[in-house]
Structures are given as structure tokens and as C-alpha cells.
């Protein structure tokens, strides 16, 4: 990978820690890193300098906050500590410990949260949702071009493989 975010030394670790905190690997399935959410965000940063700048500045702020609280950068904390710290950022409390998120902690949290949702549950064509991890977590059965009545009743629908855009190309061409 060769993108803007990585050029900002060490920030890839902070980003990956952020994603892993938002979507941890747990008993409910693989986490955001396995799903490639970090790749999705890196694509966004490559495509848009403003987004890259927001991540760069705010991940640096997250590390400063972590260093101030725990004496270590964010990526070196365990999940419990990262979760506590991120909850404070989400609540907007981070400013209370003298941190300087850009433009504001809740704003950055909202941005990162939205990108996490897109990277986790968007079509894999955008670099996230690898192995359809997000859709499987949700129980979403993927794209079906022609949905039958039994697919829309209440109760388990007929089994089918979970399909993304790449899987339906041939069927679509047939119309």
C-alpha cells in the first residue's frame, strides 16, 4: 500500500486499532480488520485529501490522548482501554483532557463511524466487506435480482449463496 495515510509515519497502526475497536473480532464473528474496513478507509484517504487530512490529524490526536492517559499510543492499548478511550471521544469528553481533535471529537467519531459502516456493509467492490463478513454478521442474504414471494414472507427464506455485485454480473447480462 502506498497511500497518503501511510506516509504519515505510524498512523496505519492507529487506524487499524481504531477499526479493531469499532468492530472487534469476537464471538459474533470476524472483526473490521478481517473485513478489510482499514482498506476501505485507506481508499477513501487516497481519493480525497480532505478525508486523509481529517484522519491524519485526528489519529494523531487520538495518540496524544492515549499517551496522556496511559503513557502509550492508542495501538498499544488493550481492547478494554481502547474501548473506554473511544467512548470518551464519541461522547465528546476528550476535550476535557486537553486533547485537540479536528474539527471536533464527535465530528471525527461520526466520520469514522460512518466509514466503518460503509467498509463493513458496502459491496466488496469498494475494498471492504471482505468475504462478505459484514453481510453475514447482519444475516443479509445479498443481491437477488428477481425476488420471489417466498423471499419476502416472514420466516427463513429459501437458502441461497450470499451474492455481491461480482456474483450477479452474468445473470444480469442475461436479463
Amino acid at each position: 500500500m502506498d497511500v497518503g495515510l501511510e506516509k504519515a509515519a505510524g498512523q496505519l497502526e492507529a487506524l487499524r486499532a481504531l477499526i479493531d475497536t469499532l468492530v472487534p473480532d469476537d464471538e459474533f464473528g470476524p472483526g473490521g480488520l478481517a473485513a478489510g474496513v482499514d482498506h476501505y478507509v485507506i481508499h477513501l484517504c487516497t481519493d480525497d485529501e480532505t478525508v486523509a487530512a481529517a484522519y491524519s490529524a485526528n489519529l494523531a490526536a487520538l495518540d496524544r490522548l492515549s499517551n496522556g492517559e496511559h503513557g502509550r499510543p492508542f495501538a498499544e492499548l488493550d481492547l478494554v482501554a481502547r474501548t473506554e478511550l473511544l467512548a470518551a471521544v464519541e461522547a465528546g469528553d476528550a476535550t476535557a483532557v486537553g486533547c485537540d481533535f479536528v474539527p471536533d471529537p464527535a465530528g471525527f467519531f461520526g466520520l469514522a463511524h460512518e466509514h466503518m459502516l460503509q467498509g463493513m456493509f458496502g459491496d466488496p467492490v469498494h475494498g471492504g466487506n471482505r468475504d462478505l463478513i459484514g453481510w453475514k454478521l447482519l444475516g443479509y442474504r445479498g443481491i437477488k435480482l428477481k425476488t420471489d414471494p417466498e423471499d419476502q414472507r416472514i420466516g427463513p427464506p429459501p437458502e441461497r449463496p450470499v451474492a455481491s455485485m461480482a456474483d450477479i454480473t452474468a445473470e444480469r447480462a442475461r436479463g
Binding site: 475497536t21 469499532l22 468492530v23 472487534p24 469476537d26 464471538e27 459474533f28 464473528g29 474501548t83 473511544l86 463511524h113 460512518e114 466503518m116 459502516l117 460503509q118 463493513m120 456493509f121 458496502g122 459491496d123 467492490v125 469498494h126 459484514g134 453481510w135 454478521l137 447482519l138 444475516g139 443479509y140 442474504r141 443481491i143 437477488k144 435480482l145 428477481k146 425476488t147 414471494p149 423471499d151 419476502q152 414472507r153 416472514i154 420466516g155 427463513p156 427464506p157 455485485m165 450477479i168 444480469r172 436479463g175
Partner: protein, 567 residues
Amino acid sequence: MSHRNPSPADVVVVGLGATAGLAVGPLAEAGLRVVALEAGPHRVDNEFVFDEIANDHRNWLGDPKANHEVPTWRARSAEESGDAAIAITMVNAVGGTAIHSPAQYFRLLPWHFRERSSIIERYGEKALPEGNAIADWPLDYEELEPYYAKVEQFLGVSGKAGNLNGELDPGGNVLEGTRSTEYPLGPLRRTGFTEMMATAARELGWHPFPGAAGIRSEPYAGLPACTYCGFCICNGCWVGAKGVTSLRGIPEAVATGNLEVVTEARAVRIDSHADGRAAGVTYVKDGREIFQPARAVILATFTFENVRLLLHSSGSKHPAGLGNDLDQVGRYPMTHQIVQMRGVFPGQDLNTLSGTYAQGTFLDDWEADNFDHSGLGFFGGSTVGMVMEIKPISAARGIPSNYPRWGTGWKRFLSENGRSLGEGLLQIEQHPYQDFRLDLDPRRRDGSGMPLVRFTIDLRDSDRAAFEFLTGKVRTWFEAAGATDVFTPPMMLQAVTPHVYGGTRMGDDPAASAVDRWGFLHDTPNVGVLGISTLPSCGGRNPTLTAQALAWRTADRLVEDWDEIAA
């Protein structure tokens, strides 16, 4: 060096979307030579993608224009403008924003046409707060009814009549205005969720009905039926089952030989003669500025661009812009609060991540004046619906606020309930106020150098009261059906959406409206304005069908009075 301009047309149309796409038919069939300028390209069905990110989040269909000229917003006139909290943009293409609309195709109710006087009659002279600018229409429901029927029959709208010539049928909407015709196609397919919610509503004593859809439930007029693919809203239809004018309306007009469509042509100005009458339209295509002379102009873009082009088209006789001699362009705007609620039905596999957003159970028990508003602090309401087509990103976002929205607790919720979410929809009516305004932002311009539209609007106490009351009714509906948790998103002003009305209000008094009862500018009568910018009230329902009925009526009027209008 100037290029030779095209030969004069009878009518030049700006924006070939849902409204003009139907208006060009009657004009071309009457033998008028029509040139239609469309800022976007032609799109074909196989361009549309099953991609929530590209469609719902990036609105790639708005890239030709709308995404690059998002209006600015401020709450009140003393403030500087900034970015609106929500910006849902339009589609630029032949066929217009109807391409990606969910195509819920409701008529307004008769009450909406006489909203101000009806409120005063029932609740007294002092019922409306000072500055409230809601108005009666210059026409009533009965006058528009034949055009509602024409549009439904022509496009192939799916639904079930609840009031056919006064005969009530509880299978349809018994609270609708009297209809002269049944829908040409039956409702979109019913699902387990829509039927469960219909049963719950009936048990509450409410009047549910299958929502009307501008989506064909059966093949019609040589066009195919819906396949319920789950990627309808914010997307074009992959088989062409939506009632989009690029498939029905425009082809018929082109076939007459009297309609020329110029795509990727961006109108920048309506030019006027020394006597004040419109002379034609200047547009930019391939970097060249071209003047299309015409005897009449039809302005048929969305609310924002209708207002912007008029204000940007000042001439010696119209120094403040076309239609604006009496300072009426940009006044009386209003918008919906579009609210997407979610109910959780634990253990139930609802299969709501499929189908189309128009495939729903709706009811009008909480719309218009169908309930007593005494002491409620607001007037009007919303049609409310329980709908299909939750998409995965949206499913993971819109969850009840008593659950965490990230981390393991959130994953647990999604894992257990991701297939058990139902969606409820409101479109809460707003009233315009005297100090709401659309004008040109003196500080912000788009890439072409034109000022952006600036929207001055805010939520009032009545909007808050309506939100609380109406979302409470949807909560009741969810709970009656067995939902254990209900998610209501926070109330937000939605200043930039495809549901912004007003700005060129229709009325008989030139000092209180911009266009006359037929849709022509009071001060420049050879310019007709199409779209929801002309509506004096908005109702709590989708705008497209009403805009199309009015458009067809304006076109008929232009043909009928051609000699006078084009003199």
C-alpha cells in the same frame, strides 16, 4: 468568435425530468416544435448498479451537476450561510430525479388544496401563528383530479382505489379524495411484513392500504414489471419498471418528430426581449455558450434551480429577475421532515432487506385534518408507511438508541436482530413562514461561477410538536405489531432534499405569488414553471405525482392558449 445559434423553436424546455418529460408530449403532438435542454446525459438500464455506497452515499447520478452546486443554508436572515446538515441531491439525466426516486405515488388530499381556509374554519382565526404563510391553492382537488388520473393511466401506476366515484373500498385508501378511475395496475406485491403491519393497523382502528407506486406491478404499455431486487431508492431500475419519463413520455414525444432533446446542455439564463417577454434560453454545451430562441419557455428543473435561474435572469424590464417584479421568487419555501423509524421484532425473520421502498402498507389516519388538531400545536400531518427495502449499511446504522452502535454489544444486536428490523416512514408536512427564503448566496458560487442557492429556513415549535405526535403514532403501530424496541432518529431540519417545495408559488394575486393558476409567471406570461416549486402547501406525502399532474395541465393550457401566450 460567436457560433451560429440554432433556429427558433416554438418552446424551449429547461430540464427534461419527471414534469417536462410528460409536458413535452401534448406540446409535440399539437405540432409545436420543442427543444428540450437537459443538463445530464441519457442513462440506460444497464448503467444502474446494486451498490449502496455509489447510490445512497455518493449519489453518482447527481455528478453531472447537482452534486457540485448544493445549496447553502442558514436558520435566519441575520446569519451567514453554511453547509446544510443534510444534503440529498438530485439526479441529472433525461428522466430526472424520478430515476432514483422510491416512486411512492400519492395524490394530495382535497384538504391540502384549501389548507389555510380549512384550518381557520375549524380552529379559528387565531389558530395559525403570526408569519405562517400557508395558503389555499388557486385550484381545488376536483380540478386537478382528471390530470392525476391521466398521469396514473399513462405511466402505469400501481395501487388500489379506496374511493372510486364516492364508493368506498377498505382495500384501498378510504381517506383519499374521490377518484374517477381505478389504478391501471394492482398494488405492488404484499409481503409478510406489510401484511403483519396492515393487520396491526386495523386492530388499532386505523385504515391501512397498499401504497400507490409509480412502479409497474405488471408489464404495461410494453414496459416490464418490478422484480423487487432491493436496490430501488437512490438507484435507477435495472429492468425499467419505474414510471420514468425517459421510458414513457419522452419517446412518444420524440416519435412525433417535433421534440429535439439536447443533453449535457446546462441552461444559464432565460433571456428576455426589450418588452419584457422571454426570448429564449442561453445554455452551455461543450464549453460553448449557445442561445436557443423560442416563443415560449418551460422551466422544469427542481425547486432550487427553478428559483436560481429566474433570479439569475434579470433583464431591463425585470431588474430583480424574471417573475420577480413584485419580489415573489424565492418566497414561501417549505420542506418535509423525512423520518425513518425502525422497530425490532426479536426472533422474526422479516426479510425486509429486499423489495422496494414503495412496497409498503400506508395510512392517512394521521395526515391532513383526518384527526382533531385542537391543542396539538401543529396542523397537517403525514402519510405514514411501513416499507420494505432496508439496505445493509442502513440496517447497521439505524438501530434503537438503547443499544450500543459499535463494539461487541452492537455486533451482538446485529447478529441477533439484523433480520428482524421493520422500517416505518414519515414525511411530516411543514408550513412556510414569511421569513423563509430561497435566494442567491452572495458569498458562494459553483464551479461555473453561478451563485449557489441560499436557503433560509428553520424548524418551528409546530414542527417539533408534529414530530413528537406523529412519531408517537408510528411507535404505537410498531408496538401493536409486537416490536420490542423502536428507534426514532433525532429530529433534523432537512433543508436540502428532493422534497423542497415553494419558491415560485402558484396563485391568483401577483403580489402574493409568482405564477398564475396555470403555472405561468405573472410578469412574464410566456414562461411556464413546472415542479413542486409552485405548490402553496406540500402535504405529508411524496411530490412527484402532483407535480406531473400540474405539468400536464400547464402543457394543455399552453397548447390551448398558444396564440395568446406566444404572441
